[in-house]
Symmetry: C2
Subunit: 340 residues, 2 copies
Amino acid sequence: MLRVLRGETVERPPVWMMRQAGRYLPEYMALREKYSFFERCQTPELACEITIQPVDIIGVDAAILFSDILVVPQAMGLEVQLVESKGPILPEPIRTRSDFNRIRIPNVNEKLQYVFDAVKLTKKELNDRVPLIGFAGAPWTILCYMVQGKGSKTFDEAKAFCYTQPEMAHRLLQMITDTTIAYCKEQAAAGVDVVQLFDSWGGLLSPNDFKNISLKYIGQIVRALKDEVLVIVFAKGAWHSLKQMADTGTHGLGIDWCIEPQMARKLAGSGIALQGNFDPAKLFAPISVIKKEVSQMLEDFGGQAHIANLGHGILPNTPVDHAKAFVQTVKEYKIENVKV
Amino acid sequence: MLRVLRGETVERPPVWMMRQAGRYLPEYMALREKYSFFERCQTPELACEITIQPVDIIGVDAAILFSDILVVPQAMGLEVQLVESKGPILPEPIRTRSDFNRIRIPNVNEKLQYVFDAVKLTKKELNDRVPLIGFAGAPWTILCYMVQGKGSKTFDEAKAFCYTQPEMAHRLLQMITDTTIAYCKEQAAAGVDVVQLFDSWGGLLSPNDFKNISLKYIGQIVRALKDEVLVIVFAKGAWHSLKQMADTGTHGLGIDWCIEPQMARKLAGSGIALQGNFDPAKLFAPISVIKKEVSQMLEDFGGQAHIANLGHGILPNTPVDHAKAFVQTVKEYKIENVKV
């Protein structure tokens, strides 16, 4: 995976799955029975164990730290409740100037030390078997939760906040950006090999709004990080801005399943690593179908400059052997005539 | 609007708004207080009154019949509950062969006569002031509700049904298609000037699945209708297939706000009418911003072969004067040097 992100030629694409440390794994569910979300997140031994589970059980080529993008708004002073199977709730979202005035750029070493401790422990336990990916939410996606206060199909209140109070919205986006840069730099210092930025709700914005509200801040983060750590930007649904995202200097771009790999390559330009893009719901198909369609996806991406992944997080009820079939199909794939 | 769909040159783009007869209007809310959803839908006098409200209050250039896409699965034998502000519930969704065996292709004149009565009454009351649009859901979107049983961000159970039981899924899609063709033909016979097909969840499918699961059946419907009535296909999020949708012979294509008008035109090809694509959440912006951005949208679409609309349904809390500003900005727009 690191070689692909550095632009080197490889024998086959590396493979991991977004949310691979998650609810489809019985071993994860056993820990979820015993510990709350934040206990799992904030206890380095638990975060480490959960992070490594899919490496041992599924055989993925990379681990991604068990955590949540909402630890950042939490560190900035907002209460975050993660209610199992109900999604996040922020009971005091930002709507007014006085709500906004409660928000602070935190000292990440003070507020998020448990993340860096989990990174260090996980790196030690992984013992260089596979790389470790750290992550953060992109500022627009974090603002969505800070303003809407919960999940939403449209994040209309977050958008209305940006459209009616643009000065405050941009100040908030800048504060999230500054916090995220410090947070990701400390993750890198603690040992993560790659940082992925998740802009899960980037695709809800028009191309022009995406540029002004999201890409501007993603660009700042990438430029601050890219010489210290490998970076992947995944803005779900924002196919229209793949070129501009590539121009930030990020090493890789996440791709969802709603675009053909050839089209994604055409839009993103040559060279940059593309990561994706299997429909997570297709892991419910019979294993024979999964194998056929994963092989087709690998062909469509062309073998090089590709990190095999899903196009979004793995779904909770996915059968474990189907997830294994996904990973195994990639690992058995042979690129013809490759010289490394 | 009819002239645009027929490919004629116009003085300015026509304008209407998806869900224009809806919850942002106090006059609509007053009727909602008194009558249940299905009372409003099934009583021609109420459906007619609600349909005409935005013509009188907002000044739109077309009326769209007040109804719901889920009257079709209801007519096919599934119970549908429309719980206000909670979305639809189908308490006995289709999962197994025996669920499937309960589904019938109905006699639409028997089951949906109230729709055709509402069309006739509305046409009479409109008295040719503006055209009347009828509509139906595209088969994939209807299947989503029939199988998932409720709204969903991912419609993963509907997808799993298609991936694991493809033969039954395609038989169900064909039954919905046959019902929809008969239903839309009767709407046309009763007097609607245009039929719009809503594929609200088309954008959840990969381009290849969209082709096999959705576009195939949309194509059948368009080909069966296009010589009898003007047709608009709106598959939200399915930008990747605009060309193939245009090739069905539909007169117009709906466009969501997550694509630039110029790119939509490039993908769809010249000639065909494009409808859209203002972000509904942007109607929360100050009126001065709305006017500026609507004017920009009109410029970007280039004036001809364009029906001004939102990129999805108007949101419930939209201020009425903001909706009026949207419509008024289009009506005041002047295309330079046009000769009609």
